[in-house]
Structures are given as C-alpha cells and as structure tokens.
Amino acid sequence: MAYFGDGATSEGDFHEAMNFAGVWHVPVVFVCQNNQWAISVPLKKQTHSRTIAQKALAYGLPGIQVDGNDVLAVYAATREAVERARAGDGPTLIECVTYRLGVHTTADDPTKYRSDLEVAMWEQKDPLTRFRAYLEKRNLLEEGLEQRVDDEIAEAVRRFEATPPADPLVMFDHAYAELPPDVQAQRDAMAASEPATPARPDATPPTQPGATPMRGQRLTRR
C-alpha cells in the first residue's frame, strides 16, 4: 500500500507508478488522502479532473472515491482493494476525500488562503467525531478508551523529548556498508575534535497541554 496526498498526484512519479503498476498488474493499493489542500493550493488548482479516482481509468485500473471521513467506508474500500491485490487482480487507486483541518507546517498560515467558515464546516465532519458518535450510538465505545489513547500519546511525546541528543559521530554509521578511506578520515577528524556530546543541559520541558496554538492551528476539542 502506497500513501500520498492530493498534491502528489500532480507529480510525474505518481503517473509513472500508476502506469507501471497497471502494465505489470502488480498487487499494489494506491491510497490518496485528498485533503483538498497542498499547503496553499486547493485541489481545483492542482488538477482539472473532476476526481482523483478517475485518473486510474487512464491506466486501466479501478479507481474508487470514498468518503475519507467515514472510517468504516475507508476500511471497506481498502479491504476490497487489498483482496483484489491478493487475488492477483492487480492494483487499485482509492481516493479518500477529507479535509486538512490543521496547518500544513508550523510555518503555514491557512488564514491567508481559506475562510474560517470553510474550516468550521469541515470540522463538523471530523472523522473522529463522527466515529465516536457512531460508536456511542451503537453502545460500543469502551469506557476510558479516549483517555488511555491520550495518555499513550502524551507518554510517547514525553519519551521522545527525554531522548538525549545523538552522538554526532553516528552520521558516519550508515553512509555506506563500509566507510571509504577518505570518509573514515573525516570521521576520525570529527572524533578527534568533538568532545563526547553532553546531555542537553537546557533541554526544553515537554509542551504543556493547553499551550497556545500557532496561527491557524486547530486545538483538539475532546
């Protein structure tokens, strides 16, 4: 399974890959997360096609468009595509239509290119909100599950932030199977000049929950 966004479907490599997969009839599932924004460029400026799914037709593969905010619909479409691949029936392109609610990066300011109204409209369709509503309705939501997930994420972030910085010399460890003599000499020079890196004395404390979000960043509403 290969994952990519709507912007990536404008890259030549997307088309080359679809074409190769079609010609060779290989077991691949292409999953496009169409969140409608490639940083500041909306889908209508990315492609003149009505859908991304239809691009599959040109390569002789099935293309499916699915509500990407419907967890079960995505699961069903993916399972069907995976079964097709496993059965030797070749590749599938799945376009999951969703929306990028947050910023692209910390340097991005979505208020420059899209309206709050548009974002608010899509927030109503947030897949987590919808799936929770579904589970609650069917009485399937386990008590305390959300808290456990939040704790797990917080713990992972804490572990990451507590990781001491790596020794700079490790940059030489995986450049080649065996370091060429000149690169070995570069490593030796660094080893001779660089003292062993001390543990970061001014390590920044982990981000506090509820800290002010960046411009355009969306805070979880849970």
Partner: protein, 326 residues
Amino acid sequence: MAKLNMVKALNQALFQEMERDADVLVLGEDVGVDGGVFRVTDDLQRTYGSQRVIDSPLAEAAIIGTAVGMALYGLKPVCEIQFSGFAFQCFHQIENHCARYRMRSQGRFHVPMVIRMPYGGGVRALEHHSESEEQFYAHIPGLKMVIPSGPRNARALLAAAIRDPDPVIFFEAKSLYHAAKEEVPDESEVIAIGRAQVAREGDALTLIAYGAMLRVALEAADVLRDEDGVAVEVIDLLTVSPLDRETLVASVKKTGRAVVVHEAPRSFGPGAEIAASIMDGAFLSLEAPIRRVTAYDVPFVGFAREKANVPDVPRVVSAVRETLAF
C-alpha cells in the same frame, strides 16, 4: 580465454552474476527482447525469462523507483538507463532515495543495486546521447561511481558493482563498446571498487584519466615518449567515487607533476576534486600547477563540433608539455 569487446564482456558479467545469484535481475527500456539498444543485455531474457529480465515502460523515474523497492526487498536489480543523458528524469529517485535509504533507515535497509548507463561522446550522436555527467553522481554521498576503460576491467567492475552492498552508478563509454577486443579469462573476476590502477609506469608526470579518456591518455603518453623522450605515468581511475587518493598521491610524490583528463566540463568536475586531493596529500612534492584537460564549460555543442570539445591527444600532449616546462 576469449577475445571480447566491451559489449560482450559486460554481457558476460551479467550472465555470470545472474547465474551466480538468483536475486540478480535486469530492468530497463528495451533490455529484454531487444537485448538493449547497445546489446549489452543480449540473450539474457531468453535464458532467464521475463521475470528476471524485465522490459519496462518508458519512464526512468519509475525504473529507478521500482528498483529501489526491489533492492529494499532483498533483490539485486541491475537497471539500464538507455543513455546517461536520460537520467535526469530519474535523478531525484537516485539522489533522494537510492543513495539515502541506508542512512534514512539507520542501517535497517540498504540498496544493493546497480544503475548502468552508456555515457560520453565520440560516436557522433545527438543531444542527450553524448554527454558525460559522472560529476553529479560522484558528488552524492551514499553512491559509488564506477567507469571502466576496457573489456576486461568492465566485466570485473560490473561483477564487483553487482556484489556491492551499496548502490553503484556504472558508466559505460559508448565509444569503447566496440573499440577494441581484449583477452578475458573464462572465469569471473572482480576488481575492488575504490581502487585506481597504474596503467603505465613513469617518472616525469602523472596523467590521470578514466573511461574513454584512458585511451587518449595512453596515446598521449606514447607521443611524449617518442617525441620528447619522457616517461609519463598513466593512472586509470576506474572508480571516480570513492576516489583512490592514496594511489594518486603516491604517484605524484614520485613524479611531482599531474594532469587530469576528463570528458565532463571542467568547472566543479572530477578534475577539481582530484587536484585538491593531490594538493592535500602531495603539496610539497609538486613542481607545477595541476592542469586539467576537459570538455569546455559550454552546453552540448552538437556532434559536428564534438571533436573540438572532447579532449584529444594533441590537447593532452600540449598540457603535459606545458606542465613539464613550468
């Protein structure tokens, strides 16, 4: 022992390596039924089938991208890019992925693949079919850049490249494909990647070349011996990167002078790196500045003016004489 040209020698290397290791496969445009536009992959598909000798659609990025995936999966793909001038279509796959997976995955994955490309001028071909672009690949950490100069070392270096655990860019000089035949032993041989060879010993000056330029360097050395009575030492680089600085420095410590010959344009080319390495290692032995005989810093000039652009024997002889007279 058989007399083979470079095409036959490379073909034999592929046969021997595919026989030796079932993970080796060949992938590229026209490599199967057609045996490659230069026939380097001739008869491989007939012997090993279309699952191991794969005709791909016409798309260089997908050839390299697919091969990177195969290599991550444990196979050893040997890709053919039909002409080195077409490789800019897949340069991002080479630089961004092929060269980096070992580092990116902190050693969990590596990419044991070879990318073969015919390069260079001398066959009166058109644009994108005549250039020398080794400097781009030599500059990329994580890759190795190999250029043989004759049938026997071509076969041995291709075998070494296929067995190498890291990605190797393998340039084949088009002008050498059918240029000469050489005695090649029946048994497979390898030449260590990263080692240059002294092609001819001498004491007056070190002449450094590789690929198609080795023949030019050796002919220039003949002229200098016959007309000037000087013994020029000729070094055949064989591997551009990693550069065998040790052999270069040892030679220049003996001769005190060096001239580098390559077909690629001069500025920021391999000659500059070679000259800097000699300065680093043999500065006090140098009697003259290191000269470079290269193509000029101009875009592709067209085949009618190719001979004026690619280094030839008179230009090399004259650079050596100037260096000796300095």
